[in-house]
Amino acid sequence: MDPSEVEFLAEKELVKIVPNFSLDKIYLIGGDLGPFNPGLPVDVPLWLALNFKQRQKCRIIPPDWMDVEKLEEIRELEKREEAFTPVPSPYYMELTKLLLNHASDNIPKADEIRTLVKDIWDTRIAKLRLSADSFISQQEAHAKLDNLTLLEINTIREFLLNSLNCMFKLRSNLQAGSSGRTFTDY
């Protein structure tokens, strides 16, 4: 899956904004939004929040977890545990990236947050590489992957699936060996 498509899915996540304008409720196909009143927080999908933000029509309130203390806890837990720990959002990485790139003035301690999330990501990706490696070398047929996010899966998807397919083909060639053709019509 193209990374831009994962980002596209992440943009559906709701974030809180504080608009500086008034607008009645909007009846979108995917659900209702608003009403919008100056100074009153309201939930909107990220794609819209970023659009408003860029046109200086709102301030974005960062999600609860986008907080130095909370992220430090998550980082420590992620390092301690062998398994993947639950993430604060299924799109934590994309949300961090998009919000920090387009609304960093609304996020306190943006730089620290960027570093913390990157640490968490790196720890998780290192675990993921290890598990992928053992999955292949043990020739497992099933793995449980709770708490992994789509973007994380996406980083190993092609490589892992292609390797598994390739190994499967090699193995089945070894076993079968009898796909001989019969030539009947000379």
Binding site: M1, E5, F8, L9, F21, S22, L23, D24, K25, I26, Y27, L28, I29, G30, G31, L33, W47, L48, N51, K57, F135, Q139, E140, A141, H142, A143, K144, L145, D146, N147, L148, L150, I153, R157, L160, L161, L164, N165, F168, R171, D185, Y186
Partner: protein, 224 residues
Amino acid sequence: MSEAAFDDSEINQEDDSQEDVMTPAELIAKLEEAWLNEKFSPELQENKSEVVECVMEQLTHMESNLQRVKKGDTKASIHRMEVDRIRFVLTSYLRSRLQKIEKFFPHVLEREKSRADGEPSLLSPEEFAFAKEYYDNTEAYLKAVALKRMPPNLQSIDMLKAVPEPCLDSFVFLRVKEKQENILIEPETDDQREYVVDLEEGSQHLMRYRTIAPLISNGAVKLI
């Protein structure tokens, strides 16, 4: 900005007389799930013509409303952004289906031919028409440019053998929507044994497509 020329309050509130009707939001969720399932599965999934038609209806309706709006209206621009997003999912979904139809056309048509009465059709009517034309066109091409110039006993080929089949033994990532018990995991090598697993609701797994293929069509799992 406070006075919106575009009144959208009626658009999505037409059919609430009928019960059991999917809300537009549920419809979009269905489309997105079908999109990801199609993107990640090695073989073509059942067609979702009703979903495609309903989404098209929603889009057309919204677009025709947007035609009547004066330029620069804020609400309208938000609706346009949403329409663009939905149209992307819809076209991407139909593209991945068409790609598989082209890639596996003899097998897709064969499955359609051997389908039992009452079994849901793999292809929508327009996809079926496309697949048949693609088959005929490609076969005619191979004949015209080479096969008819070959010795008499080699002037045709078996398309089912010549075009690769989808590999159902591919691994896929999935999330469980409804708990499933006793899913049989077949061994990978001779010195392993088969075993069963339970798929808890909300859990995620990596396993062979073949094992869980039926669970995709009944909506118990979705591919991720």
